[in-house]
Symmetry: C2
Subunit: 597 residues, 2 copies
């Protein structure tokens, strides 16, 4: 029997298994999108000590020289022969043991929602207090809670009752001992995706997760078009609200059915979302977010009756909305900042959530500033000539060598390119100088005269005075056009300039940055090489990049599991200052500079 040493702990293993399998069996958290086939290159890990098999050909595809020098290997292709000591590397963050995905920091668990069981004293002729006063003498305060009050006659038909408290305040009372059943849901409402995570508060962990496309996308792909939908349609807000609530109720139903849980035993929903989503969720007109001076209606954390919102959980259930910072730095970002502990770090850390909107937070030794950049939908594959959402048939990875290697989702015939594929492609084109610093695709003649590139000369096509780079000669529809490159260029320019503007505002040199954290579902799919290659992140930060996954959902979970974090979240939201880029001096020039590859 041999031992794997990691994180100052040791885990038994039997020889013959891959390092990845051993790590996954012990629930130590390591992603493997390709399922251990050695084709995705995501399971990088640092070997500290121990006897293992030699570096394989497959690994050479994914490891650069520096990584090889540093004993980085792919976990799925390493077969330990004896005791082995390894270390997770910076861009592969360790996952929490119970959660199915996403990093969660250590914190003291003290759920906001609790349940307590009481034995009931019945009134007697000698002591015929009102039922309410009998409970009161046990410390159960009904006060003005009408729903609890009308339940009392049936409560007293039993010998026990269960009282549900939210932050020590009674919110409901139930017949008999129901203490076994105490659930909440963390909800991450993205512009594109809605994720619902079922939390068992007795076990203090996530037990299941469901997600769905945000049905509002029918009415606009980004927040501004949805705000506009509310503006031009009299019942636009009602529609956006209704489809979202229906979607949430569907996710709740699914989670309940799969886990054999009664909706009545879900007592709270914690919601992280951008500011526009938050407004449409509670049916508040978001119009003011979309026009100067860009004031939202509300930002602070709220606790609202689930009934009032039409959300089907316990009849006395509550919906907690996490606090936001501004119209364009929402509660999802506050959640991420908290998950990364940016409010109490002694480092300089940059946090970026890449999506249709790029949100950036800079923590200068806990001093927090943020900005938002309108990246546009190009990075997610929209507004791109052959762009498509990440789904079956989408090219998600591209490597340009002798051949142009393409990884297609679902291993289907390629139909288009999704966001990560486009960024890969442009990153590769920039690396090989198929495009110049300005983003211009080189002429076929220039390529032909370059020995290392001339095999690609036929991929450069001029059509109707527009140039494009074809990814597959046999399927010329799959191409990156000059216009596509401009779109991506604008997006990367927006993010990169926001990045530099924040550094400047906070008077930090790029070399003083200790970490760059990439948050969000989408960011997770962008490799370090692509991010750096396309220039969204400057090259000098390559080794400082970490991925945090869906920190919006994780933050929402944390507000369910800890009172302190719920309070802290409010404080973080107040403490993050917001920097409006468009009014920053010199921003225009900075943006132009940042367009360059």
């Amino acid at each position: 029997m041999s031992y794997l040493h990691i994180n100052n702990k040791q885990y038994k293993f039997t020889q013959g298994k891959s390092l990845l399998s051993i790590i996954q069996e012990n629930n130590l958290g390591m992603e493997s999108p390709c399922g251990g086939k050695g084709t995705c290159g995501k399971c990088k890990i640092k070997i500290i000590d121990g006897n293992i098999n030699d570096l394989t050909q497959e690994e050479l595809r994914f490891l650069n020289e520096e990584e090889i020098r540093n004993n980085i290997r792919l976990g799925c292709l390493v077969y330990p022969k004896e005791d082995l000591k390894v270390e997770f590397i910076s861009n592969e963050v360790q996952k929490h043991k119970i959660l199915t995905e996403g990093y969660m920091p250590d914190f003291k668990k003290s759920p906001v929602l609790t349940k307590k069981v009481y034995k009931l004293n019945k009134p007697t002729l000698e002591n015929n207090l009102s039922l309410e006063d009998i409970l009161n003498s046990e410390g159960i305060k009904i006060n003005n809670n009408y729903q609890a009050l009308i339940a009392l006659p049936s409560i007293f038909e039993n010998d026990e009752c269960s009282v549900v408290y939210l932050d020590d305040k009674l919110i409901g009372i139930e017949c008999r001992d129901t203490s076994e059943h105490l659930y909440s849901i963390a909800l991450d409402i993205g512009t594109t995706t809605v994720v619902a995570s079922l939390i068992d508060l007795n076990r203090q962990c996530e037990i299941d997760c469901e997600s769905d496309i945000n049905p509002q996308k029918e009415y606009g792909l980004d927040v501004l078009s949805r705000i506009n939908f509310c503006k031009i349609n009299k019942n636009g807000l009602d529609i956006l609200n209704k489809v979202l609530i229906d979607c949430i109720n569907d996710l709740i139903n699914k989670l309940c059915k799969k886990n054999n849980i009664n909706k009545e035993n879900i007592y709270e929903l914690a919601v992280a979302a951008n500011t526009t989503m938050m407004h449409t969720l509670i049916k508040i007109n978001p119009e003011s977010i979309g026009r100067a001076p860009y004031s939202p209606v509300f930002l602070s954390g709220k606790s609202i009756n689930a009934n009032d919102l039409g959300i089907n959980i316990s009849s006395f259930g509550k919906v907690y909305l996490l606090p936001g910072v501004s119209s364009y730095i929402g509660a999802d970002i506050v959640a991420g900042v908290c998950v990364c502990d940016l409010q109490k770090t002694d480092k300089n850390i940059l946090f970026i959530d890449i999506g249709t909107n790029g949100e950036i937070v800079l923590s200068k030794k806990s001093n927090l500033t943020s900005c938002s950049c309108a990246a546009g939908p190009a990075l997610e594959g929209m507004n791109i000539s052959c762009g498509m959402r990440a789904g079956d048939g989408a090219i998600e990875n591209i490597k340009i060598g002798e051949l142009i290697e393409k990884k297609v989702i679902g291993n289907k015939q390629p139909k288009g390119i999704c966001g990560s594929g486009i960024i890969d492609a442009i990153s590769e084109m920039a690396r090989l100088k198929i495009i110049g610093k300005t983003g211009r695709i080189q002429k076929r003649e220039s390529i032909e005269s370059d020995d290392t590139l001339k095999h690609l000369s036929e991929n450069i096509v001029d059509e109707n005075k527009k140039r494009k780079f074809i990814l597959d000669i046999n399927n010329p529809i799959l191409a990156i056009t000059q216009e596509d490159i401009r779109q991506v260029q604008l997006a990367k320019g927006a993010i990169l300039s926001g990045f530099y503007a924040l550094l400047k505002t906070m008077d930090i040199d790029i070399k003083s940055l200790d970490e760059v954290i990439i948050a969000g579902q989408f960011g997770k799919h962008l490799s370090v090489d692509s991010l750096v290659g396309v220039g969204i992140i400057p090259k000098e930060l390559k080794d400082k990049i970490k991925y945090i996954g869906n920190s919006s959902k994780t933050g929402a979970i944390m507000t369910l599991l800890s009172k302190d974090i719920r309070y802290e979240m409010e404080k973080i939201a107040r403490d993050i200052s917001y920097c409006e880029l468009s009014t920053e001096e010199g921003y225009e020039r900075l943006f132009t500079d940042c367009l360059k590859f």
Copy 2:
């Protein structure tokens, strides 16, 4: 021009008018059920100084020797000729200037409900806080008030807003300056009658009052039969609740229409009612009130959303339920105690609310004890052979002299006798010894042999071995039967024994009692002579009797006009101890003794 001096103030008058007219013109509050015709004897007043007409024959009918000695006169029959100084007498309590009826003590006005107007700062690019935070910086805290939150976009379309506070807590926010419109309603829900009083909180006064029969009476005349109705009918509670809520909404509509007020500007309802009515009002099953150990579901004061109860006032309006003491000493009695300041008197005062249930509170120098006596409906004319509700055609006063004089409501042909008429009749029969101490009607022969009574001998009739006293030989249906007398006897026995039991419990001699206060709509119609004559109140207390009118309604009004009184009400409810007569030692014998006339 001459002056009327009263209450240390003077009022101009022109000669030729009756004293009653002068008092009523100046809104000083004096009742005159007969409208100044000299036939009801209610407008008694003490003449201190001044030249007036001599005592009239009509007045002699209503004034006893002592009153005449003390210069008591009937206001409607006094015509002042020059300056006159008068004083209200104890059993005719001065009414508040603005209120249309009922005594209200002096207290500091500080309405619980307030409205404040704010100028709105609009967000700017330099200061683009959320709308909520802009209000917050002005001290307007929306917090978790969902209704207020969703109103904000429309609020900010204007330059001003009005914020409604309940006890300094924001309950709602309105567009523009609506400070002129600030109303509440005081509601007295009796088993028989529902009274709604419209309060203008800007003027801090009652501006109108409407009442209606409690529609629940279709389902039982007293609280026990209504509780039973809930018990035997699956949807009994729903029915009782619905008809009551409908009735309340009708009264609110009437008040709004008559006074040209918008329902949305009524922000609170304060409700005084007995414990069973309170339960059915908020749709809580009252069954536990009706069976041992007689525990109600709740007693403490409550503030509930009007919406939750289906009461149509402001969409964010509240319903305040006054606190009660026990299943049979409700919030209506607590209100009465507060109106009479029994919680801070240095006297010994007995408070009686006579009705289907007789509730008695004894204040021994502010030390409060209560009991409840099941008087039954006889005193209100129910369960009586020719009994009827006080309405057109009901005999309400009876005087037996040479003739039997009957005063009929509406001056119609008499159809039956209402409560006050029955008590009058039995009081007269006892005075003339037509009935003996045990309540037995004398034989016709005994009456014939009595010179002062023999003219009434034909009124005594034996029929089917049952004796009765006919009030009108030409209409023998109008009669008081032996059984009727037994019913009244049981009622008066219940109240009188409760009265004595309380004195005994508190160790007070009857001579130490300083006042006996008769509360309630019904009690108002019982003259001192009848109350004493029939023996509900012992003779020695005759001159100590005061009438307070509908103190339940008045108390509810006071909780709207004063925060302090609302708090005090809660304290009073806790401080009144409750004495369960049926478990008191020796109560049975006391009750038997109290049956005697």
